[in-house]
């Protein structure tokens, strides 16, 4: 019989084996090493079996993976980020040839745009990073500083290196967010702007040109919502804010979200349009983590969880009762 301390140590070793086995390249030598460790005692075996069974249970989560063969997203491919700025500049020139003359007089800002379902990471010289979600347009002022950006539409996650001499500022419509060393998320829909501060400090205020006077010093967990000319400050638990960032991992996280809102969220990313064609069904609440580009898997889960009818049409998925 093992002593308590020994069991704790064995549990840690078993967890390490389980993660090595399932998340890393696994060779025959590794297997031989694991077999030898397992052969040492029943305590090793039961600890490993339990954790191994756990990981195997999570294999069901891969049901959420898209069925089409996947290309790894470009930002995960080696070498891309180095050439990103140059390539992006070329794309911009090609894409907005008409606008080029307009910018000719002053140094042209760099424009970064994602398509519906797209995602991009921009790495700035100062080490800051901006991650763009689906259907987003962001402009970065040219020049060496490049600490002034404009979010035209969409959603972006900012991880900004603080520089006291040169604050980083994001302009969105009439509003402006000035960072004081932070991580934050900005989402601009047609009629609302939402700024969530995850870490550090930032100031939310109006652009010099606008007539708004609101200025708010934001703390982590603060969420500022600007809608219909009104600015409101609220707070969200860290868990909820982390869930909002699921898209960075290619997932959407729902936490007691109504089906209608869930469908709207999926529809941001393109793919087949999800239509909830039943008033009562639209109010059902769902929770869980879903692959954002696999609306079919979501529809399946909804069908199973609520017993709703799912009708696959060429251009849309209709959910009825």
């Amino acid at each position: 019989m093992s002593e308590g301390a020994a069991q704790t140590e064995i549990a840690a070793q078993a967890a390490d084996w389980a993660q090595r086995r399932h998340f890393w390249n696994w060779s025959e030598d590794d297997q031989a090493e694991l077999d030898a460790w397992l052969a040492q005692s029943m305590a090793h075996r039961v600890a490993y079996w339990r954790l191994n069974a756990t990981v195997e249970r999570t294999e069901r989560l891969t049901a959420l993976k898209p069925s089409l063969p996947e290309r790894s997203p470009f930002w995960q491919r080696r070498g891309w980020t180095i050439t990103f700025r140059a390539v992006a500049a070329l794309i911009v020139v090609a894409a907005i040839g008409v606008a080029a003359t307009e910018y000719a007089a002053k140094p042209a800002p760099q424009v970064f745009a994602t398509t519906i379902g797209g995602r991009e990471v921009i790495r700035l010289k100062d080490g800051s990073e901006i991650e763009l979600n689906t259907d987003t347009v962001l402009k970065i002022a040219s020049g060496t500083s490049a600490r002034d950006v404009t979010l035209e539409k969409g959603e972006a996650y900012f991880q900004i290196r603080h520089n006291a001499d040169q604050p980083f500022s994001v302009t969105v419509g009439d509003h402006r967010v000035v960072d004081l060393g932070t991580r934050f998320l900005i989402r601009k829909d047609d009629n609302a702007l939402e700024v969530s501060l995850i870490e550090g400090r930032a100031r939310f205020d109006a652009t010099p040109q606008s007539r708004h006077a609101s200025s708010i010093d934001m703390k982590p967990g603060d969420v500022v919502i600007a809608k219909n000319g009104q600015v409101r400050l609220t707070r969200r638990p860290e868990r909820a804010i982390v869930s909002q960032l699921g898209w960075r991992n290619g997932v959407i996280v729902f936490d007691s979200t109504q089906l209608s809102a869930a469908a709207a969220e999926f529809n941001r990313y393109g793919g087949k349009k999800l239509v909830i064609a039943d008033g009562a069904a639209a109010k059902l609440k769902i929770e869980g983590t879903f692959q954002l580009n696999n609306v079919e898997a979501f529809a399946d889960a909804v069908q199973v969880a609520f017993g709703l009818r799912v009708e696959m049409r060429p251009d849309e998925i209709r959910i009825t009762r």
């Binding site: 019989m1 093992s2 308590g4 069991q7 704790t8 064995i10 549990a11 840690a12 967890a15 390490d16 389980a18 993660q19 090595r20 399932h22 998340f23 890393w24 390249n25 005692s41 029943m42 305590a43 075996r45 039961v46 600890a47 079996w49 339990r50 954790l51 069974a53 756990t54 990981v55 249970r57 999570t58 294999e59 069901r60 989560l61 891969t62 049901a63 959420l64 993976k65 996947e70 790894s72 995960q76 860290e238 868990r239 869930s243 991992n249 290619g250 997932v251 996280v253 936490d255 059902l284 609440k285 769902i286 929770e287 869980g288 983590t289 692959q291 889960a301 199973v304 969880a305 609520f306």
Partner: protein
């Protein structure tokens, strides 16, 4: 194993009580019949053992004893056997450590009878499985969850997870290991209470 070659198809994978088990049969039996009892076992241990920090170790001691015995001879009633083993283990500990009177340990037979069978309603359980997995995943610490999601849903390898999260491979390993441990505790050690939505 020779003893099971003549079993019918419905019995395939079932272990005949009294027979010895080889290692892979023992693992399959342990995962299929013992692990689903974990929530009840944890309840039993928590009820009968004051020191919370010992519980996880006691559980592993129970598993170890159960499997050592079962590889020689498969018990005919797994649940009764697991709880009897747990009770005996606690009694041994109490004797050795002179902490609590022996009467503190509840009547195992009464207790295990009162608890629900994990039951053959596997399909009903399967329906809630995905939701349960997701709920468990959502309760992990954010970094551990991110690492596991990247590995399981996006299918990234450890080194790619490290790149994606901007952390070292060693740190990824630690997040994954702690995440797996926490998931095991949630998926096996807690009562499955499928929360029905309206």
């Amino acid at each position: 194993m020779a003893e099971t070659t003549d079993t019918t198809r419905e019995d395939a994978g079932r272990i005949r009580p009294g027979a010895a088990m080889n290692t892979s049969e023992l693992e399959a039996w342990f995962v299929r019949e013992v692990l689903p009892l974990e929530a009840a076992l944890m309840q039993f241990l928590q009820h009968n053992w004051r020191n919370r920090s010992d519980i996880a170790d006691l559980r592993q001691d129970v598993y170890e004893r159960v499997c050592l015995a079962a590889q020689e001879q498969a018990p005919d009633n797994t649940k009764a056997f697991v709880f009897r083993t747990a009770r005996n283990l606690l009694v041994d500990r109490i004797r050795r450590e002179h902490v609590v009177p022996i009467e503190a340990v509840e009547d195992v037979d009464a207790l295990s009878m009162a608890m629900d069978e994990p039951g053959p309603e596997r399909s009903a359980i399967a329906r809630d499985e995905l939701r349960r997995l997701q709920a468990a995943l959502d309760r992990l610490p954010p970094r551990a969850r991110e690492a596991i999601v990247l590995g399981r849903i996006e299918g990234l390898q450890g080194n790619e997870i490290a790149q994606r999260m901007g952390i070292t491979e060693g740190v990824v390993s630690r997040h994954l290991a702690s995440g797996i441990g926490a998931l095991a505790d949630m998926l096996y050690g807690e009562d499955a209470k499928p929360r029905r939505k309206p």
